[in-house]
């Protein structure tokens, strides 16, 4: 069975020139040189060498075994959320290299969790963190610097209480609120076009800033729900963007966190709240966390994940940030876990 020329990512002009001379399959072109192809078909020499590059067997995708993948994953540390129950449910924290979607009603704490993660990714390695930078893409205008400052101060306080050895003391000298703010890049996107072009620019951004390990988009729903009449186009653009983000996350070992809004589905006699942006969008992220109110308490549920069980945990938002429901009783546990993490690092 032969692979037709039109299935290669070439411009239609080049493809029609090749077809006109009878070169319909890749098998017909393989044995030619760029010069020969150029004279035979009338395409420019650069285009001809591009065609031959695509047909070349050496550039076919390479596989890795699951064992190598396991070894690679073991080297990636997760990003803690500071809610120990949620961290436990996620196997240590938000995993690196995945796309995560946070859905919830307004005021449930999606932006709070995003700000918390933006600080947590910067925790130095000697404390069990990643010591990395973060990019925050703000589409709703909900990025509040003062709140970030509060959370950063709380995390710095927490780490200074845990300082034991010389390495940690050295790290604490540079781990300050100002340093945290300087390691966070914020971009404001006003509409869907700006957001999409920002997403396309991300590979170049990550090449220039290799320390960035977390990209937050708060929220991805807002620009697409406002003034977007053509729904099929919206679905295609969203899926395309999600796919670019998934490719980026996997190849660069960066986590992408996106927040989504909720909408109402009317079904029969009743209605219920479901995540917005449609049925197709549901497949976009690797992990989906649903934040909701149950009996006047905030709960986080993992509703989609290929590697975690479906669990529901309590959490709360206080002045320090995103924390466990009962902080006092959990404080001792969090400390022992951090010490274990310190011991492992």
């Amino acid at each position: 069975m032969q692979r037709p020329v039109w299935s290669l990512p070439l411009s239609s002009a080049v493809i029609s020139k090749l077809n006109r001379r009878g070169y319909q399959c890749t098998a017909d072109i393989e044995h030619l040189t760029a010069g020969q192809l150029s004279t035979e078909t009338g395409v420019k020499e650069e285009e001809a060498s591009e065609v031959l590059d695509l047909v070349d067997h050496q550039r076919y995708p390479v596989s890795i075994t699951a064992l190598e993948l396991l070894q690679r994953e073991a080297e990636l540390k997760p990003i803690v959320t500071f809610c120990s129950e949620l961290d436990r449910a996620l196997g240590g924290g938000i995993p690196l290299g995945k796309t995560i979607e946070l859905c919830g009603v307004p005021g449930i704490g999606k932006t709070q969790l995003c700000l918390q993660l933006a600080v947590d990714v910067q925790i130095p390695e000697c404390f069990g963190g990643l010591g990395a930078q973060c990019l925050f893409i703000d589409t709703e205008g909900t990025f509040f610097l003062e709140r970030l400052r509060e959370m950063a101060a709380a995390v710095v306080r927490h780490c200074s209480l845990l300082t034991e050895d010389q390495e940690q003391q050295d790290a604490m000298r540079t781990f300050t609120v100002e340093k945290i703010l300087s390691n966070l890049f914020v971009v404001r996107c006003d509409d869907s076009m700006e957001l999409l072009s920002q997403i396309s620019d991300l590979p170049a951004f990550l090449s220039d800033h290799p320390e960035v390990r977390l990209i937050i988009i708060d929220s991805i729903a807002f620009p697409f729900r406002l003034h977007f009449e053509d729904l099929p186009l919206r679905t295609r653009l969203l899926l395309g963007a999600a796919h670019q983000l998934a490719a980026l996350a996997t190849t660069r070992n960066t986590t992408v966190v996106m927040t989504n809004q909720m909408t109402t589905r009317v079904q029969g006699e009743g209605s219920r709240l479901i995540p917005a942006l449609g049925e197709n969008w549901g497949h976009a992220a690797n992990i989906r966390l649903l934040l909701q109110w149950i009996d006047c308490k905030r709960m986080a549920t993992i509703i989609k994940s290929s590697s975690h069980m479906s669990t529901t945990v309590h959490y709360q938002i206080n002045t320090d940030g995103f924390r466990d429901l009962s902080e006092a009783s959990k404080r001792a546990k969090v400390q022992t876990e951090d010490q274990k993490a310190v011991g492992n690092s």
Binding site: M1, R3, P4, W6, S7, L8, P9, R21, G22, Q24, C25, D28, H31, H57, R59, Y60, P61, V62, S63, I64, T65, A66, L67, L69, L70, E73, A74, E85, A89, G91, P95, K98, P232, R236, L239, G240, H243, A246, A247, A249, T250, T251, Q267, R272, E279, N280, G282, H283, N286, R288, Q292, M299, I303, S306, S307, M309, S310, T311, T312, V313
Partner: protein, 328 residues
């Protein structure tokens, strides 16, 4: 359409190819259907020579008919049934995945498609000791989860490591890389890594709609043609190498609210068997691991057969994870 090249067969010299091209004959099809007498005069070559060339080219490029009896014998000896590792799913699939065929799993987000794919890969690599090719287009594959599933099935570390080495993972994110990958697999006879590996018995693609959906629905028809090209390559792959293929697909909601697999009617002809997975009952706030699978297309079992199955089958172990205990 095969282009005529010098030395394709004895008697086809470079000069003759050039002469034929001047006479407007550049492909094998054109030569075979041309008037050889007139051509012999135009190209100043003997009629007998052209006739001999035509005979050889026909022999090289024709498909040979096979008798039904031979085909049946072939099928009996080369078809295998690969269990999915989950007894309830095997019931639905009439004992498992059949080699030489494509099975499709469709379902909404969170219904367990990736878990089933992991379970199948783990079962084939560990118990059947055969190779598996896993093409991941969503970035959702987590080797840690594969390892957890292996630990549930076997307690020997050597066996787990050997099984992990039999699963070959490709991480691709666009349709052109997928086509490259399938072509290269076909060309190399399904030996992606030449390291004393076990013979490959299954190809799993999770998910095929993630790369194809963004291309469909526009004015241009390239998306559709690329989808059919993927379909044709997959079909050729499973038939030529007697492997089982498992692909996952998204779902879309039709006007009445009913759920159906994505990618449209053209794609629906490709898989021999199609399963629709449905998610947990969301009316309560608790989220269980029970799912249901409905058979929506099958040539062996009655359609609309439905089973309930538990995703935690792949996590069954003596100790219960602490998070579950807290909220059970």
């Amino acid at each position: 359409m095969v282009v005529l090249r010098a030395h394709m067969c004895p008697g086809l010299e470079l000069q003759l190819v050039r002469d034929l091209r001047e006479a407007d004959i550049s492909t094998v099809e054109e030569l075979v259907s041309a008037d050889l007498e007139a051509l012999a005069q135009k190209c100043s070559v003997s009629y007998k020579a052209l006739l001999a060339i035509r005979r050889v080219l026909l022999a090289q490029h024709t498909a040979f008919p096979v008798s039904g009896a031979d085909l049946y014998e072939d099928l009996l000896s080369s078809t295998a049934i690969l269990s999915t590792g989950h007894p309830r799913l095997d019931e639905l699939l009439d004992s498992g995945l059949y080699t030489g065929e494509l099975t499709e799993l469709s379902g909404g987000p969170g219904t367990g498609k990736t878990q089933v794919c992991f379970g199948v890969a783990v079962h084939i690599a560990l118990h059947l000791k055969q190779g598996v090719i896993f093409i991941d287009t969503t970035g959702g594959i987590t080797a840690t989860r594969l390892h957890q599933m292996l630990q549930t099935e076997s307690s020997s570390l050597e066996e787990q490591i050997a099984a992990l080495q039999r699963i070959h993972v490709f991480q691709l994110f666009d349709v052109f890389s997928l086509l490259d990958c399938l072509c290269s697999l076909r060309r190399s006879g399904l030996q992606p890594v030449a390291v004393g590996g076990a013979c490959v018995r299954a190809v799993i693609i999770d998910s095929v709609s993630a790369v194809i959906s963004p291309l469909l629905g526009t004015r241009h028809t390239e998306g559709m043609s690329l989808m059919m090209q993927v379909a044709a390559l997959l079909k050729a792959l499973v038939k030529d190498f007697s492997v089982a293929a498992l692909v996952t697909n998204h779902v879309t909601r039709s006007v009445g609210g009913a759920v159906r697999p994505a990618l449209g009617v053209s794609w629906s002809h490709l898989p021999r068997t199609r399963l629709l997975l449905e998610g947990p009952d969301r009316s309560t706030h608790s989220f269980s691991s029970l799912r249901s699978a409905t058979l929506i297309k099958s040539s062996r079992q009655p359609c609309h057969m439905r089973v309930e199955f538990d995703l935690s089958w792949w996590s069954r172990s003596k100790e219960v994870p602490s998070a579950k205990r807290k909220h059970s």
